[in-house]
Symmetry: C2
Subunit: 256 residues, 2 copies
């Protein structure tokens, strides 16, 4: 049988016979260069996964040891990342995501050759429980809105966001968020363009099965959980946000 999973990596990094033997350049050096070129060309797709070693050896027409020598050299240089039992991957540096008083989503990822996107997963009218209501400064049991979104960069899920709003403060938010999932746009319409982040709490834990599925990451890899409160310029609570980040794909940055 052929490979059970349709492998999303398509790139054939070499044609057999493209290597020069006995010309003073070791085979593993030539393979190292070829793989590095392939990485820079983005030949391994958004997953960044390389074909397994035996497959690479076949394509290059060399022994597995020789491929391993090349791969190890690239791993030492930080180009590739080897994970026993899982595979070898392009070592994409995690996306650096600044968190501070003035954080906006899409502005963060622009200008660093990543394609940001944000889709609405769900938008529900809910009853605010005691904890969230207290944060939003309304009585427990008040009407509210829960907006669940999935943020991606470069086609890979980055974060699951859940936003809580009090209906009494944003009466038309359901229609507004249906039309445009951007919180910044909603706040601006409501005359709160100058909101800021009052505080952010950061924690980590293993993902729930559903979160691992949504974020397309293994259950063994942890998630970052941030909780944040957005505040108006006057200091009133506007929205409470709880975001679950794919831990292996982001670094949060404070200051700098």
């Amino acid at each position: 049988m052929s490979s059970p999973l349709p492998d999303q990596t398509t790139a054939p990094p070499a044609e057999p016979g493209s290597l020069a033997r006995g010309q003073g350049v070791a085979l593993w050096r030539q393979i190292e260069s070829a793989l590095e070129q392939a990485v820079l060309a983005g030949a391994f797709g958004p997953s960044g996964r390389l074909p397994p070693e035996p497959e690479l050896a076949r394509r290059f027409g060399v022994n597995r040891h020789t491929v391993r020598h090349a791969v190890k050299a690239l791993a030492l240089r930080g180009i590739l990342r080897i994970e026993q039992g899982r595979g070898t991957f392009v070592d994409q540096p995690p996306i650096d995501y600044p968190i501070g008083e003035r954080t906006r989503f899409s502005a963060n990822l622009a200008g660093r050759d990543r394609l940001p996107s944000r889709v609405t997963l769900a938008l529900d009218r809910i009853v605010l429980d005691a904890t969230v209501a207290a944060l939003l400064g309304v009585p427990a049991g008040s009407a509210g809105l829960r907006h669940r979104t999935l943020a991606s960069a470069d086609g890979l899920p980055l974060a699951l966001g859940t936003l809580f709003l009090a209906t009494e403060r944003f009466p038309d938010s359901f229609a507004a968020l249906t039309a445009n999932p951007s919180i910044t746009a909603l706040f601006t319409t409501a005359g709160q363009a100058d909101y800021r982040r009052a505080w952010t709490r950061i924690h980590t834990r293993p993902p729930s099965p559903q979160e691992a599925l949504d974020l397309q990451q293994p259950r063994e890899r942890p998630v970052l959980v941030t909780e944040a409160l957005d505040q108006s310029a006057a200091g009133e609570p506007l929205a409470y946000n709880c975001t679950v980040w794919a831990g292996e794909r982001v670094t949060l940055t404070v200051g700098g």
Copy 2:
């Protein structure tokens, strides 16, 4: 044979016969109250680990199902945390650790009934590699110091810290840190009492086997990794710090 691990929890939460049968209060309700009292009294020690269910059942003189009913109720209320295959634990809320421009360690944990402590694990003279040297603003290959510490609160490990200094900036740092592991003290002596945190990067990943051991946490629970650069008031880099936190025991807070 008796229990293979010497259990550090000593507290007997009840004496048999202390339960009132047939008095209109279900046994599991009484056990729920008794356990809650025990939790509030800190009867389960710093580990927060409850005795195994059969042991609890024996102490209360009831069937294991009855204990499970009580424990489940407390878990639903967020008082206890059940971990299949590991045990039942007091659900200690994670320690809230503020990170900002003026973060100091011991100041953070005082006044919240946790006993902070910090011990030196290792203090080495090293050669600074390119990455760290660049951050510290010295040539790669310069002499430096690496200071590894273990921070604990309440007897439980909280974080493994690694600090990098350039020797040329702090000539006497080896002796100073040997005498007093506090960075604040070192900086103060060097006339840099007014240092601040230039930036902090936050990431998460599974712990290495050694880290799991040092932090006394299961390998399945992730760690938080913070990297931070301390800067003088004049904007010169002073020290680079990389800290690995026990993820289940801390929440980092920005602002607020």
